[in-house]
């Protein structure tokens, strides 16, 4: 990656010697992996709905296709900056998947072993999804200091607004870029 980054540089621009630690944390990487997982699963559900339903012994494949669309949307959101929203929609999707697979585990389904396997997989991924939302929620907490620092005294006008206004109207010079050329031209 560093090599590619350096190839693209203009001749004189600084090139990377050693890369430092990334602002991306472990949870960001996990979210990225889950996002791509969503995309892959979504595409499979969308385009191989018939095969997938057959493997799991489900009757009808319309629902699987619909789940594929849902999975793709969750994937796109999870890969975005708003990964928190994406992960929550994944958790919601996990719940739907679990309910659907539970319903398909009946004695009359000859493929119930495969369904059991899929269920275990979904449960595993659900744990990761929930864990990621929790870490992100903790990180998004705005407070780090209590009480919140006060900015009541930060007016920015050391001598007060009155004096600042008077001073500015005194020294504002029209010729040295103090006036806006466009406005001046219009007058």
């Amino acid at each position: 990656m560093t090599f590619i980054a350096n190839v693209a540089r203009n001749a004189g621009d600084p090139k990377i010697l050693d890369a430092g630690q990334s602002s991306l944390g472990a949870v960001d990487r996990l979210a990225k992996a889950l996002g791509w997982f969503s995309i892959a699963l979504g595409l499979t559900e969308l385009f191989a709905a018939r095969r997938l339903s057959r493997v799991l012994g489900l009757n009808g494949h319309g629902l699987v296709r619909l789940y594929g669309v849902r999975e793709l949307a969750a994937g796109v959101a999870t890969l975005s900056v708003d990964k928190q929203a994406g992960l929550w929609s994944r958790v919601g999707g996990d719940a739907l998947d679990i309910a659907t697979l539970m319903a398909a585990r009946g004695r009359d389904n000859p493929r119930r072993d495969t369904v059991g396997l899929a269920l275990a997989l979904v449960l595993g991924v659900t744990v990761l999804d929930v864990a990621a939302t929790q870490v992100l929620a903790a990180r998004a907490n705005r407070k780090r200091r209590d009480p919140r620092p006060s900015y009541r005294d930060r007016s920015g006008f050391p001598r007060g607004l009155r004096a600042a206004r008077d001073g500015v109207s005194d020294v504002r010079s029209p010729k040295r870029g103090g006036a806006d050329p466009v406005t001046t031209a219009a007058q």
């Binding site: 990656m1 560093t2 590619i4 980054a5 350096n6 693209a8 540089r9 203009n10 004189g12 621009d13 600084p14 090139k15 990377i16 010697l17 050693d18 890369a19 430092g20 630690q21 990334s22 602002s23 991306l24 796109v76 959101a77 975005s80 900056v81 708003d82 990180r139 998004a140 907490n141 705005r142 407070k143 780090r144 200091r145 919140r148 620092p149 006060s150 900015y151 009541r152 005294d153 930060r154 007016s155 920015g156 006008f157 050391p158 001598r159 607004l161 600042a164 206004r165 001073g167 500015v168 020294v171 504002r172 010079s173 040295r176 870029g177 103090g178 806006d180 050329p181 466009v182 406005t183």
Partner: protein, 391 residues
């Protein structure tokens, strides 16, 4: 040297990189003593501005000491000079520079051909920004090569702390230009959307330029408090209807002048359904910006009023109510800041103690903490308003 390097979306690292050197006789090398993280850097952090490449050095707000000067810049700069580096690189000689339109310099963008294709007519070169603006290595680093350094610098005196001068590089002139473009009259009520660093500077500039009243809009209590400290009336958009409150405060007329210091990443929340719509489209790559604040501004602005837009927009926006804009006869003014057009005067105001831009600094940390501070600033944690980094 060490520098904050863009590796991808939300991926910034403090890398060890090769030192810059003089490439052109008009160059100078500045040893950076202070630099800052800007709201524009967050758009890059989120990869919402096209044409960033892994390996790009971030940062366009920097100052320091001149340590090397190219032959043709020697008349204007010498080793040891203390300078603030404006984020817009300009030659000072082309037709746009002659008019003071420094952010439209026709020579400083080294990717001008590409920029001409994308923008119709390309803009100036900018430090630490997209390759559409030249892809110049930025100032969140120990050393910075300044192209066209004979023009692209602001000489500053010793004896004034870095924190009071650093923002001449961008946010102070940006807030100032935004307010100047409003043509403020003594009876004007000016409303400012967004109380980030740019909004804070715009609020103070509007007051200095004589506005009767400034109204500040945001949702973060600490930023609203900072706006009130200057004398603005605060509106918390997460708790009250901005449009109702503004009409109430203006006797039903709406603000005369409106300044958009929010830009392309308007806060997303269900009570503003258009933000959800924009966010969805943005994720799918069919809209580049979330212009909620701008829609609100066009709706609430008084007829015949002025809308000034310092907030950055990247490309294509949906559902902009041009009908309201046209029928109400509103004037729109915008642009990247022509930094040096304003800095002579602004430096004088700082030296005379009329204003001290250091009020906005809430965090000062070593450069190596930069990657972490991008997140703190982005997530508005710990009361963060402005981060200064010390290389």
């Amino acid at each position: 040297m060490r520098a904050l390097v863009w590796h991808g979306k939300e991926d910034i690292r403090c890398d060890r990189v090769t030192d810059p050197g003089i490439e052109d006789p008009r160059d100078a090398i500045v040893k950076v003593t202070s630099c800052a993280i800007c709201g524009s850097d967050l758009h890059l952090f989120h990869n919402f501005i096209p044409a960033m490449l892994p390996g790009d050095i971030m940062g366009h707000e920097a100052m320091g000491e001149v340590v090397e000067v190219g032959a043709e810049a020697r008349g204007k700069l010498k080793v040891g000079d203390r300078v603030v580096v404006p984020f817009t690189i300009f030659c000072g000689q082309c037709e746009q520079c002659q008019r003071g339109n420094f952010s439209l310099c026709q020579r400083s963008n080294r990717n001008k051909r590409l920029a001409d294709k994308v923008f119709g007519h390309g803009t100036a070169g900018l430090f630490g920004y997209t390759h559409l603006t030249g892809g110049y290595p930025g100032g969140q680093a120990e050393f910075l090569r300044v192209p066209f350094a004979d023009a692209t610098h602001i000489k500053v005196p010793d004896g004034v702390p870095d924190e009071s001068l650093l923002f001449l590089s961008d946010i102070f002139p940006t807030g100032w230009q935004a307010a100047v473009q409003c043509d403020i009259e003594p009876t004007d009520i000016v409303a400012v959307w967004g109380c980030g660093p740019v909004g804070q500077m715009a609020i103070r500039s509007a007051l200095l330029l004589g506005a009767e009243q400034v109204i500040a809009i945001d949702r973060l209590p600490e930023r609203l408090e900072m706006a009130e400290a200057a004398g603005a009336i605060a509106i918390d958009f997460s708790r009250e209807s901005v449009i109702e409150r503004l009409n109430e405060l203006t006797g039903g007329d709406g603000p005369d002048k409106c300044i958009d210091c929010v830009g392309m990443e308007s806060h997303v929340m269900p009570s503003q359904p258009d933000t959800l719509y924009d966010r969805g489209k943005q994720m799918l790559g069919v809209e580049t910006d979330r212009p909620h604040a701008l829609r609100e501004i066009i709706y609430v602005c008084r007829g015949g009023g002025v809308i000034s837009i310092p907030g950055v927009y990247a490309g294509f926006d949906d559902k902009i109510p041009l009908g309201q804009l046209m029928n109400k006869g509103i004037t729109v003014r915008t642009g990247q800041t022509h930094v040096n057009r304003w800095t002579d005067d602004l430096l004088r105001y700082i030296e005379e103690g009329l204003i001290d831009p250091a009020f906005v600094v809430t965090h000062t940390v070593p450069l190596a903490d930069g990657p972490e501070m991008y997140k703190v600033f982005r997530d508005k944690q710990d009361g963060c308003v402005k981060v200064v980094l010390k290389p």
